[in-house]
């Protein structure tokens, strides 16, 4: 019973190849063929839906002095490790040192006065809740190598 099916397989393959070959002649199909082989992957070489592989030697940088800005309006970078520092509903570890009530004692940079404005530009007595998630803009530094070469240079007006 199995033999007749097997014997039809080469025939089917030939038919399929012929039909593909004929369709390849049409310009529409040719465009589809050139797009198909491109394999999408992230800059770190992982498949798009997969997690990025752990980079080698990407350690959080140790404490250092505040890092100067590279361009106007740049959110200042975090010059220390933030390992184990959580921002939760109950408690924001960043504000434990950087808030206006705490910065004198801790020697930290205080939260910018711009953070006391709500989205309508009104000045508030407290830090605006929209600024709660500090690391949305302020980021800690690691020794990761840039994935893509670039020619970025600091803003001229900010040079020492």
């Amino acid at each position: 019973m199995k033999n007749p099916i097997r014997s039809t397989r080469p025939l089917l393959a030939v038919l399929l190849a012929l039909s593909l070959g004929s369709s390849a002649l049409s310009p529409l199909a040719m465009a589809a063929d050139t797009a198909a082989p491109t394999k999408l992957q992230s800059l770190r070489g992982a498949e798009v839906p997969a997690m990025d592989p752990e980079g080698e030697g990407t350690r959080n940088e140790k404490d250092r002095a505040p890092i100067p800005r590279n361009y106007l309006q740049q959110p200042p970078l975090i010059p220390h490790s933030t390992k184990g520092y959580n921002i939760t509903k109950n408690f924001n570890k960043c504000l434990d040192c950087h808030s206006w009530t705490r910065y004198k004692e801790t020697g930290a940079t205080k939260v910018s006065i711009t953070h006391f404005k709500n989205r309508d530009g009104q000045e508030m007595a407290n830090i605006s809740p929209r600024r709660y998630f500090c690391v949305q803009c302020h980021v800690p530094q690691s020794d990761a190598k840039p994935l893509v070469n670039n020619t970025f240079q600091r803003a001229q007006g900010l040079d020492k």
Partner: protein, 238 residues
């Protein structure tokens, strides 16, 4: 003959009493070892992580939180388990703490914190008990492993080096700053957005100066006055 018999009888009784005395002493000694050993073994059985998290109040709440912290998992594999921080090491204080812990058994039976909602409602109160206990003992359980006299400030980061030296000079203790290092913190007021009904900053960061002796307080006041005077004069001059 009669006198001899009497004497030998007395000697025999004396011998027996002596033997019995020695035997009794030995039995008491052995019983002491067994009882004391048994007591200590049971005590130590209640001093293990498995025992602590055998009740779901601990296992579902504080243990899960602690598993994300450096005291549970770290590069060198040294772990501080529940009793390392929550039960004193020396015998006297351990016994006192263990007797106090019978209150926790009562609340286990009452079901005071048997749901996460109940636990979170009590989180500030429970945390404050631990903060107060640590503060009272100068963070004794921290210092079982961490001794600030052995700090190498050159190895510490610039932030920790600075904060440790100023903090310890002000007479602060570990728990004054290191709250919530092993468990989730209760809500704390931090001056962002509207009031979240959390712990005020005075509780979360008790001022070492405010708690100082009255003498130093008056000194501080005098200093403050001395500082204020020139400004007042300058203001008056203007």
């Amino acid at each position: 003959m009669m006198i001899d018999n009497n004497n030998s009888l007395k000697e025999r009784i004396r011998e027996r009493v002596q033997r019995a005395g020695v035997g009794l002493l030995g039995m008491v000694f052995v019983a002491g070892i067994v009882l004391w050993g048994g007591f200590n073994t049971v005590l130590e059985l209640t001093n293990r992580e498995e025992f602590c998290i055998s009740c779901h109040e601990m296992n579902d709440n504080v243990f899960q939180e602690y598993r994300n912290t450096i005291h549970y998992s770290n590069r060198s594999g040294v772990r501080a388990t529940c009793p390392d921080c929550h039960v004193p090491k020396d015998w006297t204080h351990k016994m006192i703490r263990k007797i106090q812990a019978s209150n926790e058994v009562l609340h286990k039976i009452l079901g005071s914190i048997d749901t996460p909602e109940k636990f979170n409602a009590k989180r500030l109160e429970l945390a404050e008990h631990e903060w107060a206990r640590m503060k009272k003992t100068d963070s004794r359980e921290c210092r079982n492993c961490h001794n600030f006299e052995y700090f190498d400030y050159s190895e510490q980061g610039r932030r920790s080096s600075r904060m440790h030296q100023t903090g310890l000079n002000e007479g602060k203790t570990c728990i004054d700053c290191h709250k919530g290092i092993a468990h989730t913190l209760p809500a704390v007021e931090q001056g962002i957005g509207s009031d979240k009904h959390g712990a005020p900053q005075e509780i979360f960061h008790p001022d070492a100066k405010a708690e100082a002796k009255p003498e130093t307080k008056s000194e501080a006041k005098a200093e403050a006055k001395a500082e204020a005077k020139p400004e007042d004069k300058a203001a008056a001059g203007k």
